[in-house]
């Protein structure tokens, strides 16, 4: 056993560190620092830079254009990205649909979609959740009826409603779970479809969340026509793809490196905020909360490393990753709580909707502007991606045999 990086690992770390330093766009950093909402182009910019370098998809094997990094290298990569506070490459293409296409897709599907995902040419969204089916994905109502078109080809006609569709307002393509056999039991009779979001019959309606963000949407599908060759894997076997994807989705959700940055940000705030004439960070109780966060973060980090080591020695991401999801999101939420606590009175002003030029009087410190919205928005992390209650159910069943 050895905690230290090898010489190769250190060389790799230095390489990615300097690449990020040299290539991460300044304007992106400035916008993110100011809490500005990022445009679609902003969000894809870094992805495309990485795509050119061949680093946009750390977990992809080389055969599909990935860098072929091992788990330690991927860990180093995510550490370095967090260290440099880069925006994240959006996961819907690279880490969600792509592994499914690699595992279950046809050669045509691979050829059509994987390169575009890698380069950041196309934006993907995920059509899983439905109103009335939150964590219970098997309870789907969106239905796809198969028919033969006038051209003699096979198609699905899709009708239904999806919700919580993140960033669907920007999406070029979506991957959808739909019911192709209405009489089958809950998890059977589901198929996994790739749908062009420009198809007639698709309507995207924003859902505004507590912090004022437009991140999620309702997606209405009305007689949307999808060619059968856009189905991944067998008809009525979409649940296999969904399960595969869910297992992948949970990895990396620990967010250790990002949370480390978050703790640093809280410390920075607490060094500026004054209480009775001294910086808040001198308050022993505030300081203690930070220390407890740091300790829990170390525990999460080494638990993730143990999990990575397990994966490296051949075990796939198992239900243990539910642990990382639970503890990772709890820590993320505590960070947002502490930040809001730290900013005091200036947690109350709500700045979204101010005109861009209208900043003659700066109101409160810059770091305070997003504290409350970030806290509010952060409540989603224990709900999305399989709520933390569901994660506990998974561990109870799959690990503890209950």
């Amino acid at each position: 056993m050895d905690l230290n990086f090898s010489a190769e690992d250190i060389a790799f770390r230095d390489e990615v560190r300097s690449f990020i330093a040299e290539n991460y766009p300044d304007d992106l950093r400035a916008k993110a620092d100011e809490g500005e909402e990022l445009s679609k182009e902003d969000l894809l910019k870094w992805h495309r830079i990485l795509g050119k370098r061949g680093w946009s998809a750390p977990a992809w094997p080389t055969q599909y254009g990935g860098p072929g990094w091992n788990s330690i290298q991927r860990y180093i990569w995510s550490e370095e990205c967090a260290r440099a506070d880069t925006i994240a490459v959006l996961p819907f293409g690279v880490t969600m649909v792509a592994p499914v296409i690699m595992a279950f897709g046809t050669e045509e599907q691979k050829a059509k979609h994987l390169p575009a995902i890698l380069k950041g040419d196309l934006w993907w969204c995920q059509g899983y959740s439905e109103p009335g089916a939150g964590s219970d994905l098997a309870n789907l109502r969106t239905k796809a009826e198969r028919f033969t078109g006038d051209d003699g080809k096979e198609y699905y006609r899709v009708n239904g409603q999806k919700t919580w569709t993140t960033m669907a307002q920007h999406a070029d393509w979506g991957f959808f779970l739909v019911r192709t056999n209405p009489t089958a039991k809950a998890q059977e009779g589901i198929s996994f479809l790739l749908i062009d979001m420009k198809s007639p019959g698709i309507t995207v309606r924003p859902i505004i969340t507590l912090g004022g963000e437009h991140e999620v949407n309702e997606v209405w599908l009305e007689d949307v026509i999808v060619p059968v060759e856009n189905r991944v894997f067998e008809e009525n076997k979409g649940w296999t793809c969904a399960k595969y994807l869910l297992a992948h989705e949970r990895t990396g959700i620990a967010g250790v490196a990002r949370s480390k940055r978050g703790v640093e940000r809280v410390k920075t705030i607490a060094r500026s905020e004054m209480e009775d004439g001294a910086p808040l960070i001198k308050n022993p109780f505030f300081k203690r909360k930070i220390a407890e966060l740091e300790v829990d973060l170390i525990a999460l980090e080494f638990t993730e490393l143990r999990t990575l080591a397990g994966e490296a020695s051949g075990k796939g991401p198992g239900p243990e990753s539910s642990l990382l999801k639970i503890k990772g999101t709890e820590i993320q939420q505590r960070i947002t709580e502490l930040a809001l606590e730290a900013v005091g009175h200036y947690g109350a002003p709500y700045f979204r909707g101010f005109g861009e030029g209208d900043n003659e009087h700066p109101i409160g410190p810059d770091y305070a502007h997003r504290a409350a919205p970030t806290y509010f928005n952060g409540r989603k992390t224990s709900i999305y991606g399989g709520s933390n209650e569901i994660q506990r159910n998974i561990i109870a069943k799959a690990v503890l045999g209950l």
Binding site: A133, G277, N283, H361, R379
Partner: protein
């Protein structure tokens, strides 16, 4: 020892509750918050209805001033109902705080202004916080300098809730001593349109409107001084304790509604073929939320009933209450959102709005740590 409401108090509660249930619906509230019903955050008609139709702006004032002859308990009753309906109108700053100062100092200024509060003509915002001061009421850089018969005010007050539509501001200032001294604090009642006052208005995350308020050589007369020059801190502490108790009452209403909304949602919402209310883990979480609400109600009652005790006992009671209320706001707010799932973090359901208000109450007039430190300092 007696925990029963008088008939008048029961009637007050029922009247307010009924009025709000009928008129202060979620949609009506959001129309005001979003400004689709006039100026964002302020509907003068509602305030006039509180004054005229309901007469509740006189709840804690003596009959001699035209009030209902009540006191802190009446404020508690109104604020709890306001919390239940997520009312944004400034009863707290106008009636509880403004009225609190005026009742405490009495005299001509009280005789003049209290009736105007009751009539709904005077609306007060409380300009006490400063960017560097956090929750320390005597950490003041805003100055009041004696000049002639009056004073000149200079400084910057932070996050003054309700300032955009206030007719008057109550301003805490330093008229002597060092930045955080207990001596040298003076309090003024100033017309909001006095020369030299500028504002920067903005919405708050919990649906209200607030302002940064800047004082530049604002001249006020000696009659604007509330209480004695330089001796204002005990007065401020007393009124802020009264306001904190009233805020606790609001929190009781907010968390009660959050709990009720969550129960309703959990009973209707189905997952895995059954109502999520059937999952034992969620049941116990809702029980724990219930325990928090019940204890918050107990503490609010305790603190309200102790507002007239000696300052140390009053302060200890209020801090103890605020500690439990902050915990309740966090536990019930977060629990409500979690059990609502995705719907809990949208702006479409009332739940998220109650959660945001609950979150702001956690820190208002002092965070849990602030009040724990205060409680400790007063114990032994």
């Amino acid at each position: 020892m007696d925990f029963n409401y008088t008939d008048e108090q029961t009637m007050l509660r029922d009247t307010v509750a009924r009025y709000l249930a009928d008129t202060y619906t979620f949609d009506a509230r959001m129309a005001v918050v979003n400004g689709t019903a006039g100026k964002a955050g302020w509907n003068p008609a509602t305030w006039q209805a509180f004054a005229q139709e309901l007469g509740i702006l006189g709840a804690p004032f003596s009959e001699a001033h035209g009030g209902l002859g009540g006191g802190a308990l009446e404020n508690m009753i109104v604020m709890e109902e306001f919390g239940r309906a997520l009312v944004i109108e400034p009863y707290l700053s106008t009636v509880v705080i403004g009225g609190g100062f005026l009742k405490a100092v009495g005299g001509a200024i009280a005789d003049t202004v209290i009736p105007q509060i009751i009539e709904g003509k005077v609306v007060i915002a409380f300009a006490y916080a400063e960017p560097q001061g956090r929750y320390n009421l005597s950490d003041l850089r805003t100055t009041a300098k004696k000049e002639g018969a009056g004073y000149v005010l200079n400084g910057h007050k932070a996050v003054v809730y309700g300032a955009p539509w206030a007719t008057h501001l109550i301003v805490t200032t330093r008229s002597g001593g060092g930045q955080r001294d207990k001596e040298g604090v003076s309090v003024f009642l100033v017309p909001a349109d006095a020369k030299g006052i500028t504002r920067r208005d903005y919405p708050t995350v919990d649906g209200s409107q607030a302002s940064e308020v800047y004082f530049e050589n604002v001249q006020v007369g000696a009659d604007a001084l509330l209480g004695e020059e330089g001796k204002g801190l005990p007065l401020v502490e007393q009124v802020v304790d009264e306001a904190t108790a009233a805020l606790c009452a609001e929190a009781c209403g907010v968390t009660r509604t959050l709990h009720a909304l969550t129960l309703d949602y959990a009973k209707q919402r189905k997952q895995f073929g059954k109502a999520i209310a059937e999952f034992q883990v969620l049941q116990h979480r809702m029980v724990d939320m219930f325990l928090e609400v019940e204890q918050a109600v107990s503490m609010t009652l305790m603190a309200t009933l102790k507002l007239d005790e000696k300052p140390l006992d009053r302060a200890k009671a209020v801090s103890a209450a605020k500690i439990k209320i902050a915990k309740a706001c966090k536990a019930v707010g977060q629990g409500a959102v979690q059990i609502h799932g995705g719907m809990g973090i949208t702006t479409e359901l009332a739940t998220g709005h109650f959660f945001k208000r609950a979150t702001m109450i956690e820190g208002q007039f002092g965070s849990m740590d602030h009040h724990l430190a205060r409680f400790e300092a007063l114990t032994d």
